[in-house]
Amino acid sequence: MKTELRSAPVRPGAASGTRPRPRVPSRFVPVLATFALFLATFGAGSLRYEGFASGQVVANLFIDNTFLIVLAVGMTFVILTGGIDLSVGSVVALSTMVTASGLQAGWPVPVVILAVLALGSVFGLLMGLVIHYFDIQPFIVTLAGMFLARGLCFVIDVESISIKNETFRDLATGIIELPGGVSITYGVVVALLVVAVAVYVLHQTRFGRTVYAVGGSESSAMLMGLSTARVKVGVYAISGFCSALGGLLFALYMLSGYGLHAVGMELQAIAAVVVGGTLLTGGAGYVLGSVIGVLMLGTIQTIISFEGTLSSWWTMIVVGVLLLVFIVMQRAILRRQARH
């Protein structure tokens, strides 16, 4: 006979059955917090400045950040698996460069678009393969990718190339009229489409759920017989594709290709994802959170430009503080969960 001492038998159902009141599941808290903060910031701007609370200001948040939204979507996939992709800013620059020089050389627009998207995807895929099969830290592999892509820009040209292609310029300047006198660019439609597809993939497909599983516990996912290899490589290919698409949107926005475009944009994307409530350790977060994160960054920039007298450096200071607050908040939530 063995006298094993344990706490009183807990009925398996007891924990979930006696929930005191319906409340927001804690996994939504970071996203909702970001959303509340976004509304508060926007509200503050509306109170302070005439004409801030207009539909067009909201539309502009999207128009000025299409590329960042797309980058943040790709980054969300990577970070959900517990990885990181530092190459995205450089791939954006490389994409603008390939676009500009391709158009300059007289390639048709569809060919340029397909070439850029293929290039970005393959670039991401290769990094993913190295990360997975050689078991190297994503940080260092994508850091190498970052330097490589940035360097390749200057192999194409050291100067900025402006885009003069008529079709491309039409795409860039074309607007869609929405009711209420609000207009958006084609880029916004593309970005929103990407977000919609990403939400679908992450929540409705086996690939997407495996992304979360790998981020939760890679060894468990492996022992559960899930295809971790495909997911780990796949997210970098997705991020590469998103970077290339972000590059195309950036080229539409700037109408030029330049090796010094999008310097540090990878960090903005990471900041948006983290502010959007995704855990850097992986396994928890939402694409919509990342979108709100981008809008949050955009709102701060808008406020600073409305203020007029503030230097744009204030954006960085505010973003820095926000990041810190969010990371601390996430940690606090995790601690509280652990205590239960």
Binding site: T205, R206, T210
Partner: protein
């Protein structure tokens, strides 16, 4: 409960579903399995028995495709198979539930059960069908939880049952349960066994690993015993007595266990020296209420209490791992301001954590390196220990503690749980502490190693070391301790001393929180 009394397994007549022949696996420095045969028949519960380090886990991992074998053949339903990984084994109908829950705590219960084979509609996951299917499967194993709740919000025991629901979800012919009961309470174990019987009667072959001998006799039809990586034999459970099983497992007679009992109850009389440690009003809000405690040289003080009663919290306060917010500590008669583990170590206090994997050992270093770690830290990094001294030291501890394999260069991760525990113990012993705090040193360790560790504790105390001994197994605490501190709801409720303290008395205190005598008086 309606239970079908199943007939004896068709061992002689039917074909085995799993037939492993001459399996050998070698890791650097360790022969984990040598020429082992194993047969598993449809419709039986087969217990795989052996001490820690006998090769049970290795055999299971060979069967489930986690390890590849160096030699030997595995046949599944008569056909030779080699699995490239757990996924391949799963596809072939072998499902495994591991001792540590290998699920994703960030996903929902339903997802954890069905991930990889979710019901889909037009390529997308059909969330409703998934919920329904998961609820069916949970119902089948008698678990009443919300399928869309997040797995991490449930206790480990429930997570373990969810893992079993996942294993049941595949139509598997072979179900491997690797110590599934180590985190379950008795009701949950009964629940699990009921599920196992249902599956067995449906023709599933179940391989069951556990350390609890009672459970083996309750559930299993046949068993295979391993020892030191070799096959001892294959038995029908009904034909092997418990004593027979234990001696087959440990390969020696049971005298050693009884010897411990005699060793442990040594005298607690004359003491002139000051206590090694004296705590007055020591406490930390939310962890443990203020308590007084004295520990004398050569004394084993046992901490008894339920899980969550403050056993570990008390130990962590003594070691300075958590900072006390009231009270004071004296070591050897002098007040000591416990700022953290470093101060405690400097004062001669050693602490073996209950989480030996997470907080104690470094799995990728050799036995030798792990052993000298604490000693090197105590000497300071500028004074390396000469290799010769190191070797002598390591050899002597390998010898005294009977650490197997007796190879200082073997990697810790390749050692069994019991042997890892001994290395951890040795690591603190080389620093020559005055007070040794052992938090669950025998958890997850088989009978033989347990007896050895208990004996060791008694011997160390006889040499004058003061020991705080924490264990969930009350009998162990009673047997080994000179004095027992009883904890209840984060409060010290009593201190019992003397040779006539019995398990019942301690149990009573834990249950009621007051001594029997006082209750009788009131």
């Amino acid at each position: 409960m309606t239970e079908t009394l199943s007939a004896a397994p068709p061992a002689a007549t039917a074909e085995p579903i799993v037939d492993m022949r001459g399996i050998s696996i070698e890791f650097p420095g360790v022969k984990a399995l040598q020429d082992v045969d194993f047969r598993l028949f449809p419709g039986e519960v087969h217990a795989l028995m052996g001490e820690n380090g006998a090769g049970k886990s290795t055999l299971i991992k060979a069967l489930t495709g986690v390890y590849s074998v160096d030699s030997g053949v595995t046949r599944l339903a008569g056909r030779p198979v080699t699995f490239s990984g757990p996924a391949a084994a799963q596809d072939a109908g072998i499902s495994t539930v591991y001792q540590e829950v290998n699920l994703c705590t960030n996903l929902t219960v339903a997802e954890n059960i069905l991930l990889g084979r979710e019901p889909r509609r037009f390529g997308a996951i059909d969330a409703r069908a998934m919920r329904v299917r998961a609820a069916e499967l949970l119902d089948r194993i008698g678990l009443d939880i919300d399928p869309v709740s997040v797995l991490g919000s449930h206790p480990i025991a429930v997570q373990q049952l969810v893992a079993i629901a996942r294993a049941v979800a595949v139509d598997s012919h072979v179900l491997v349960l690797d110590e599934p009961t180590s985190s379950l309470d008795s009701d949950e174990v009964a629940e699990l066994f009921r599920t196992m019987r249902v599956l067995r009667d449906n023709g599933v072959a179940i391989l069951f690993v556990t350390h609890f001998i009672d459970q083996v006799y309750e559930i299993s039809d046949r068993m295979t015993v391993l020892r030191n990586g070799r096959l001892v034999g294959e038995y029908a459970t009904a034909e092997l007595s418990r004593i027979g099983l234990v001696s087959a497992m440990i390969g020696r007679e049971l005298g050693e266990l009884e010897e411990v009992e005699r060793l442990a109850t040594h005298d607690t009389a004359e003491r002139s020296a000051p206590p090694v440690l004296r705590a007055k009003g020591l406490g930390r809000s939310g962890a443990i209420e203020p308590f007084d405690l004295e520990i004398n040289p050569g004394e084993v003080v046992g901490l008894a209490g339920l899980l969550g009663s403050g056993r570990t919290e008390l130990a962590r306060l003594l070691f300075g791992a958590d900072r006390a917010d009231s009270g004071r500590v004296e070591v050897g008669g002098n007040p000591l301001h416990l700022r953290g583990p470093r101060t405690a170590i400097a004062a001669g206090i050693a602490f073996c954590s209950e989480d030996r994997k997470g907080e104690g050992l470094i799995p990728d270093l050799s036995v030798r390196d792990n052993l000298v770690l604490a000693m090197q830290a105590a000497r300071g990094w500028t004074r390396p220990i000469p290799r010769r001294v190191k070797n002598e030291l390591v050899e002597s501890y390998l010898e005294t503690l009977d650490i197997r394999p007796r190879d200082p260069d073997a990697l810790i991760r390749n050692l069994s749980g019991g042997n890892q525990q001994k290395v951890l113990l040795a690591r603190w012993l080389v620093t020559k502490p005055k007070l040794l705090i052992l938090d669950e040193p025998t958890r997850g360790i088989d009978v033989g190693a347990k007896a050895q560790i208990q004996k060791l504790v008694a011997e160390l105390a006889a040499e004058g070391l003061a020991i705080v001994f924490i264990s969930a197994e009350l009998e162990e605490v009673v047997r080994i301790s000179d004095r027992i501190v009883v904890l209840r709801d984060r409060r010290k409720v009593a201190e019992l001393a003397g040779p006539d303290v019995g398990v019942d008395e301690v149990m009573d205190l834990i249950a009621s929180g007051e001594p029997e005598r006082e209750r009788a008086a009131s």
